[in-house]
Symmetry: C2
Subunit: 129 residues, 2 copies
């Protein structure tokens, strides 16, 4: 029902982040951004995009000579997948444990905490009789 695509690797995630931020992009555009952060060759990025196309992580528009890539899954969908898998791998499926680790690890802003509270209200009130 949810994911058939494999979990993106670390390097793939770097590319996806650029695509989520910029929207559909060319290899060159992605490479220039990535290269600004860490030396990254053009063909390296190209190869990853080819691999990611095969894996179904991105779509390619090859109608022009310079291909344009776009993500197939939203950032939220991917985050959800990563959380779900981490939950299974390391938290015995207990979302509460993960949440508490996350909250104790990095401090969120007051606004974010309020948002989390709202979400708790929704979850609790949602199906209670």
């Amino acid at each position: 029902m949810s994911d058939s695509t494999p979990r993106p690797t670390d390097a793939e995630l770097e590319i996806l982040k650029v695509l989520w931020e910029r929207g559909p992009s060319t290899v060159r555009e992605i490479q220039e951004i990535l290269n600004g952060v860490r030396p990254t060759g053009y063909t390296t990025v190209l190869k990853f995009l080819q691999i990611m196309t095969e894996k179904g992580l991105v779509d390619r528009d090859a109608s022009q000579r310079t291909h344009v890539y776009r993500t197939r899954r939203s950032e939220e969908q991917t985050q959800s997948q990563l959380v779900r898998e981490l939950l299974g791998r390391a938290f015995g499926g207990s979302a509460a444990k993960l949440v508490m680790q996350a909250l104790s690890t990095r401090k969120a802003t007051a606004g974010e905490l309020a948002e989390i509270r709202r979400m708790l209200d929704e979850l609790e009130g949602g199906d209670a009789t």
Copy 2:
């Protein structure tokens, strides 16, 4: 200040889970449990424990002929590391986003939700009531 050891791989995590649950264990003990879940050879487990010893993920007591392995980091420490790294890799450091993904991904029990609320109270009202 926090972690120098590398993030455990998926297979390594399976072994760590057994060690956290059972406490210090021999290769045989771990292998039997793992094998109950999924066919897993003895030398496979042994090799992983040797690698994990090199990586500093576990300690080995070799004073007896049958070595005994124990984890070097607690389950909570490891979970914290995994969350922190996932936060950086995929959530732009926003714990709130991760928390909300976790909450919307799997439903927690009422008790767990209450526990999260308590933690929010603690974080927010660090000094006030």
